[in-house]
Amino acid sequence: MNPKGSTSKIKTIIVHEYLTKVKTKGFIIATILGPLLLLAVIFIPILVTMLGADSTERKIAIVDYTEKLGKEIVNSDTSKYFLTNYSPETLRKEVLSGKLDGYLVIPKDFLKRGEADVYTMGGGGIGFLNTLESNVREVARKERLREAGVDLSVINLVEEGVDINTQKITKEGTEKDYAEAYAVVGYVFGFIIYTLMLLYGSFVSRGVIEEKANRIIEVIASSARPFEIMMGKVIGIGCVGLTQVLFWVILSGVLLYLIAPMLGGMASDPEMLKTQMMNQNQNMVMPTSFEIPNISPWIFVAFIFYFLSGYFLYATLFAAVGSAVDQESDAQQLQMPIMLPIIIPILLVGYVISNPESTISVILSLFPLFTPILMMVRVAATPVPLWQIIASIVLMLGSFYGCVWMAARIYRVGILMYGKKPNLKDLFKWVRQSG
């Protein structure tokens, strides 16, 4: 028999870990359904707002003592408003019986005093009131201008809306800037990295605990060095994560660069889209744009790098903790110090997205334990200076080296230690212990 070196041992372990995981139903389902789930998480709230605003048709009666404005208001949305001569007493009964959602009383001196009362059963949401108020305000403003003797063409001029289109300056000239869209992209990528680091980290610790609890580790340790066993597992499971991420990146690439331009051609007239929207509901808050923002492929490269480096940094620590305990339920407490630096950046994402260039954001994103999430967010949200990106790469690689060194020393002792529940102090003692 050919004696083989350690490279083939670690390769054997990597392949074993990879294939066992990739072949599971759970992995295949998660890989395919993951993007759908993510889309659902992002778009369901948007859809609910869009549909929700339109879903409750409200009937509002208008009692108009000015005998001018009421007609105009009804014209702004005939499905909602109608003029009436009923007495307030009758209308009150109608509202109470549910036939009517409310009634608006416009006093005779409304244009001067600018005050009118709307009577409803209460509730109805801010959206409803805002719509009503702006409908009334618009009509009133027009009327006031006309009374002041302003020419109709001038009034129309004033009424014309304003849109601020953000333009981004590049070397090639200017292009449309999608600051808000980029913020969302940053948040989504940061969140994916967060989820994957926790998920794959726990795969590693669970795998280590399984081997220890089932006493498989003793046989493996008599075949390979503890460092090879640990790194084989970490790399193998990392490759599983990479497979998943690459699948998603390629899928997004196909969507963004192949399918989106086709769709973009169809919906290239934003004005038309806008008019459609306006007809549905005049005061709906418009999404910034329906065009798909131009996401640089470099953002995907950064995503893959920060995911991988973050995973490796934490996975080794998860392996170390897993090796120290006898069963999964004991791992919780020891895992807290590792989970916290993964969770904290998610709490800071909001700040970093709003101020991606502030000194605090720069420092936070260069702190290696936070880098995977926060630097990812910044790279997506703003053009990060090259030196900061290089610094983050160097710092990540350095910390990875340190974590591997420390984790390997804990692992080596931990896998053979049964029966006692170690604490953090014990782990540090193991680090210092000699071979």
């Binding site: 580790i217 003793e218 046989v219 340790a221 008599s222 075949s223």
Partner: protein, 304 residues
């Protein structure tokens, strides 16, 4: 030729010395019994032989070289605490462990099939471990130990969990491997098996080696002081002797060791006065006896 040399190894865990100054060597083609009570330091010693742990002092050499990654491929180790991946198929599991010992995938596969067939377990190939009974799992575990045709086998309680039929099958495999020139280190608490299988033994207690040598020599040195007798009648005559250490005693049968000036002849004379003697045998003590004797004596020495 000595295939394994353990040269005054010491292993400490903190202040606790688990193994202190243990030395022995194992000759090729023999079965070596590594014995000792629970917690004596056997597992730690085995872990140093398999390169799982490094000794703090001393050295283990295998096949003429200091033990390391390369030597590991030539060892098959069956730990006392068994374990396999619960959710992985039997064949995949065997292939993986074979590859970890440096086999190619295809070699591992064909060897795994060969052994499964030999142990009447071909039909388990695609089953997951969790679907197998305890005894079946033990068989699979045993195959992982010998799959890569190791020159040195280290078996810790190899028969635990096996029924008498399977125990015989495993014993047969062990003796076959021995006749092929493989070396076997056996660690067990069942002394009958040691007497049946082992050529040499080493007895460890509290990390120290307290007895070692060839089984035959050790028993011989202990002398023929054990009497096994059967008779017809009562056993009152035995009460006249005070220097007797009983191993077994009933109305018509007794096994005991004699000490301090008592001779077999004296007992035989006394017994034959009133009884018919069916059997009177002067034997070497069993290893079990020696084991208990040595370990308890050691305990007394330590306390005094």
């Amino acid at each position: 030729m000595d295939i394994l040399k353990v040269n005054s190894i010491v292993k400490r865990f903190g202040d606790f010395e688990a193994v202190s100054n243990v030395t022995f060597s194992v000759e090729q083609g023999t079965v070596f019994g590594l014995l000792g009570p629970n917690g004596a330091g056997k597992t730690t010693t085995i872990r140093m032989m398999t390169n799982i742990l490094k000794p703090d002092e001393g050295e283990v050499s295998l096949f003429g070289e200091k033990v390391g990654s390369l030597q590991q491929n030539r060892i098959g180790y069956l730990p006392e605490e068994r374990g396999l991946y619960k959710k992985i198929k039997v064949i995949d599991q065997l292939i993986y462990f074979g590859q970890l010992k440096g086999m190619s995938r295809s070699d591992a596969q064909s060897e795994a099939r060969k052994w499964l067939k030999k142990l009447d377990a071909e039909t388990w190939e695609t089953k997951k471990i969790q679907e197998l009974s305890k005894g079946m799992q033990q068989k699979v575990q045993f195959i992982t130990t010998i799959l890569h045709n190791p020159d040195l086998l280290i078996l810790d309680e190899p028969f635990s969990g096996f029924d008498p039929i399977n125990t015989e099958i495993i014993k047969k495999i062990i003796s076959d491997l021995k006749s092929e020139g493989k070396t076997i280190i056996l660690s067990t608490h069942i002394m009958e098996q040691v007497e049946q299988l082992c050529d040499h033994i080493c007895l460890i207690d509290k990390g120290k080696m307290i007895l070692s040598g060839m089984v035959r020599e050790i028993k011989k040195n202990y002398g023929r002081d054990t009497i096994l007798m059967e008779w017809d009648g009562d056993d009152l005559f035995l009460n006249e002797f005070s220097n007797i250490k009983y191993i077994n005693r009933s109305n018509n049968r007794a096994e005991f060791r004699i000490t301090d000036g008592l001779t077999p002849m004296l007992i035989l004379q006394k017994a034959s006065q009133k009884n018919n003697i069916y059997k009177f045998e002067l034997a070497e003590p069993s290893l079990n006896e020696i084991f208990i004797d040595v370990v308890t004596k050691q305990g007394v020495d330590n306390e005094s």
